[in-house]
């Protein structure tokens, strides 16, 4: 028997749904990120709309179910953006639907610019959420500096709804850069690529993206280093950086902003890990120290990889059912795409050290005493 979906349209509705729930709830926004916990479906998509947008204060507040596309469109009108560049999982996971801002927050989704600007959690100023008893709770607010009380804002980012269901989120937004330039190096080994990206990221040229794809669109390795800002500044820094990286071979500077080979399309391709779309491999997302990336990719042998964040983020596509965690040095690996069979064998999230796992379990008990919010998803 399928349970009917719960689709609250207001925060108080949401609180009512949770307060009266007696069994597990499977919480989702747009349902595009591929996590399918057991339970009665509870969608926050009905809590939709931008509640406040002050471009001059770089602040935007929206209900959790607001489509990301709606927010990005509103920001574009004022030449602003979500600087953490949230990934769209639809092509990688083959999902449909509208990604919501609450989903982005619940999963702490960040893209290539994370290496310079910060993650979703770094731009999240405030949250409103409903805990597992139906209590409405707020934390943070809509100002950029706020140390009033404990920071539950960060805690909610990446908690995947297991401590509470988000009803409203507020963000610091940033001006959209006037110009973009991408330095392209070709033919590098992973080790050289990481060295080149490290050299770029330790330069004063404010690099806002550094990715390496061993099999680029034409099949050969490509390393992409992004610069953003005012036109003259980008031109200047691209020239400086080209010189700084000359030891890694010749490079090109890509400045096109429209069309299929533009810088915009190129970085969306990296952001959305499109190179792994449409296959039946398992896909892992591994966060490690950048200089550990070459050894990790060597150990993974036949697996396909893609490096972002200067090597600090390694996307891995490998044969279904292989647990790569034993090969990951200090850091963590999340199973982003997997067959149902793999999901039964391998946990989605990286197991934590026992004292932290205990803290996590105790926190869940305190915030969700009935154990109904995406139970089992995070341990």
């Amino acid at each position: 028997m399928t349970n009917p979906m719960l689709a609250p349209t207001s925060e108080s509705d949401l609180a009512e749904c949770i307060a009266t729930a007696t069994g597990p709830l499977a919480i989702s926004g747009g349902g595009t990120r591929g996590l399918k916990p057991e339970g009665t479906a509870l969608s926050t998509a009905g809590l939709s709309g931008i509640t406040l947008y002050e471009p001059g204060a770089l602040t935007l507040v929206a209900q959790a179910g607001t489509p990301v596309a709606e927010i990005e469109a509103a920001l574009a009108v004022e030449n602003q953006m979500l600087a953490f560049e949230p990934m769209d999982h639809r092509s990688l996971l083959g999902t449909t639907g509208d990604p919501t801002i609450g989903g982005v927050v619940a999963a702490n989704i960040s893209g290539p610019r994370r290496v310079q600007a910060g993650a979703c959690r770094d731009f999240l100023l405030g949250v409103r959420f409903v805990d597992g008893t139906g209590e409405i709770i707020k934390n943070g607010g809509r100002v950029m500096k706020n140390v009033t009380g404990y920071d539950l804002v960060k805690l909610m980012a990446g908690a995947h709804g297991t401590l509470g269901v988000l009803s409203e989120v507020s963000f610091k937004v940033l001006p959209r850069p006037e110009a973009t330039g991408v330095l392209l190096l070709t033919g590098l080994t992973v080790a050289d690529a990481v060295r080149a990206m490290s050299s770029a990221l330790t330069s004063p040229y404010d690099v806002s993206g550094a990715a390496h794809i061993p099999e680029g669109q034409d099949g050969s390795p490509v390393t992409m280093i992004r610069l953003e800002g005012f036109e003259n500044s980008v031109t200047y820094r691209a020239k400086q950086l080209k010189e700084r990286l000359s030891q890694f071979g010749p490079s090109e500077i890509e400045r096109r902003i429209d069309g299929p080979v533009s810088t915009t399309a190129g970085w969306r391709w990296v952001r959305d890990v499109e190179t792994f779309a449409g296959t039946d491999e398992d896909v892992w997302r591994v966060s490690i120290k950048p200089s550990d990336a070459p050894a990790l990719t060597a150990t993974l042998k036949d697996a396909r990889v893609m490096l972002d964040w200067g090597g600090g983020l390694v996307w891995v596509a490998c044969l279904s059912g292989i647990d790569i965690r034993s090969k990951v040095p200090k850091g963590h690996a999340t199973l982003v795409r997997a067959s149902d069979q793999t999901r039964k064998q391998i946990a989605t999230f990286h197991p934590e050290a026992p004292p932290l796992a205990k803290l996590a379990a105790d926190l869940r008990k305190n915030f969700d005493p009935k154990g109904i919010l995406n139970p089992g998803l995070m341990g």
Binding site: E78, N79, G141, K145, D151, P204, S291
Partner: protein, 482 residues
């Protein structure tokens, strides 16, 4: 400010307890002589002081763990302390507490430029983190104004900010990993040189928890390559409204300065007398600083100056060289010292939406008239973090109380305007009882439930952050009976 009654039970076993601590630490690192513990009786919120039971100065994570284990067994509260520069009473002891200072632990453990991180012991001062990497062209971004003295431990506890956080963020945005000792002595490693958490964001939760969840002994911090250069421009306006509109327009134009600082007429006057920085005589003064190569700086300042001119400034001055840049910053950097020369003052720290700046400044002026105390405003305008300085006379009976009452009104005003009680100093004891202005019972209860998980006996940094009436049930039922 009311503090909970010290536990007679704890006070009664002082001698035995101290001798137990001395089984782990060298005698000179367990301080109980009243003349020597006096140094630790208060922090930079010097209006409040209390002698602790004793002070311990462990030298390693293992020693911190052993000390906490004993305190946990004995039910003795612990007040963690970095350098004691808290402006909110975050390190104020209670009479039945042990002050645990991390000042002996100040080593750099690892510098890793390739991965852009540094690992330090948390007793290290903020400025000396940058000092360790400066020659190689790097810096640690958060720069609270006490950076010469304040410790990374305190920066993490309070999630400290600084003048440059408009671009670089505050401590929580630059913290990648910690070694933390829990109240029962368990040592946990969280994060590292990699980015973001795999499970819950423990780092985000710990940063800014005011030493109430654990004692952080080591930290992995993000370091950044230094920009090629930086240059400020000084802009004077005839009203706060116009200055506020200018700030908003600069931000909207897509320039992201590293700092936008604001000073009002009262502060300008005092600073001029004190530092002779050559500031114009005007109602509102902005210092806007941008970074980059000389050409990039020219480009950004060009945009800023153009915007500034549309608002009809009374003064617009761009630094032509390093000396002029230093002179522009001189007044701002000496503002707190200069105000301290003429008066006692209380420094507030509320944050407001930038759009509410003119309204809040006008209301602060009205409150100043109402309470009969002078106020100077100097703050980080780019992010709305206000620092009203209320001037009072500590020797005049009743003046401190009037000042505190007025401070509370200003903080309520900040919350009412859509902001918060504290942007970078923390709650400590100072704003503890005002928490109910910003949070309802359910909001506070959620935060206290986090504390319950990390420190079930509520022994770490007692009587801070939460209003005493909200936390009394937990403290009363959990603390061992006499």
């Amino acid at each position: 400010m009311e503090m909970p009654r010290p536990s007679e039970h704890v006070l009664g076993k002082k001698t035995r307890f101290i001798s137990r601590l001395k089984t782990i630490l060298a005698d000179e690192h367990v301080i109980s002589d009243v003349m020597e513990t006096r140094v630790y009786e208060c922090d930079a919120l010097a209006a409040y002081a209390c002698q602790p039971l004793c002070v311990v100065l462990p030298g390693t994570t293992e020693e911190v763990s052993a000390v906490l284990k004993i305190c946990h067994e004995e039910g003795v509260p612990v007040v963690p302390r970095g350098s004691g520069t808290s402006l909110a009473g975050g390190a104020l002891p209670t009479a039945d507490s042990v002050v645990l200072g991390v000042s002996r632990m100040s080593d750099v453990l690892e510098t890793d430029y390739d991965n852009r991180v540094i690992r330090v012991q948390t007793g290290r001062t903020n400025l000396s983190v940058t000092g360790a990497v400066d020659e190689d062209g790097f810096f640690y971004a958060p720069d609270p104004s006490s950076q010469l003295a304040c410790a990374i431990a305190g920066n993490i506890a309070m999630n400290s900010g600084g003048a440059h956080c408009l671009k670089y963020g505050v401590t929580t945005n630059n913290l990648l990993g910690v070694t933390m000792v829990m109240m029962d002595g368990t040592v946990v490693e969280i994060g590292g040189a990699h980015m973001d958490a795999g499970g819950y964001d423990w780092l985000g939760l710990i940063c800014g928890s005011e030493g109430q969840l654990g004692v952080v002994t080591e930290a992995t911090l993000r370091i950044l390559p230094k920009p090629e250069g930086a240059r400020p421009v000084l802009i004077g306006y005839s009203s706060a409204e116009i200055a506020g509109a200018c700030v908003s327009d600069i931000i909207k134009a897509g320039v992201l300065p590293v700092a936008i600082e604001y000073m009002d007429k009262r502060v300008i006057e005092v600073v001029e007398d004190y530092a002779k920085a050559g500031y114009p005589d005007c109602e509102a003064l902005l210092i806007v600083e941008v970074e980059g190569s000389p050409e990039e700086i020219d480009e950004q300042l060009g945009v800023i100056k153009q915007i500034a001119r549309t608002h009809d400034p009374v003064e617009l001055r761009e630094a032509q060289d390093a000396d002029e840049a230093a002179r522009i910053w001189l007044g701002r950097k000496s503002a707190f010292g200069a105000m301290g020369q003429i008066n006692d003052y209380m420094c507030l720290d509320g944050t407001i939406p930038v759009s509410a700046l003119p309204y809040v400044l006008r209301r602060i002026g009205e409150l100043s008239d109402e309470y009969g105390l002078d106020v100077g405003n100097v703050f980080h305008a780019g992010d709305g973090n206000m620092h009203p300085l209320i001037l009072f006379d500590a020797n005049k009976p009743g003046d401190l109380e009037t000042c505190e009452a007025m401070g509370a009104e200003i903080l309520k005003l900040c919350v009412e305007a859509g902001g918060c009680l504290t942007g970078e100093h923390g709650v400590g004891i100072e704003k503890r009882e005002l928490m109910t202005v910003q949070f309802n019972t359910a909001d506070l209860e959620a935060q206290m439930k986090v504390k319950d998980v990390f420190d079930p006996a509520w022994l770490l940094n007692p009587a801070k952050v939460f209003p005493l009436s909200n936390s009394s049930d937990r403290r009363d039922t959990i603390r061992p009976a006499a």
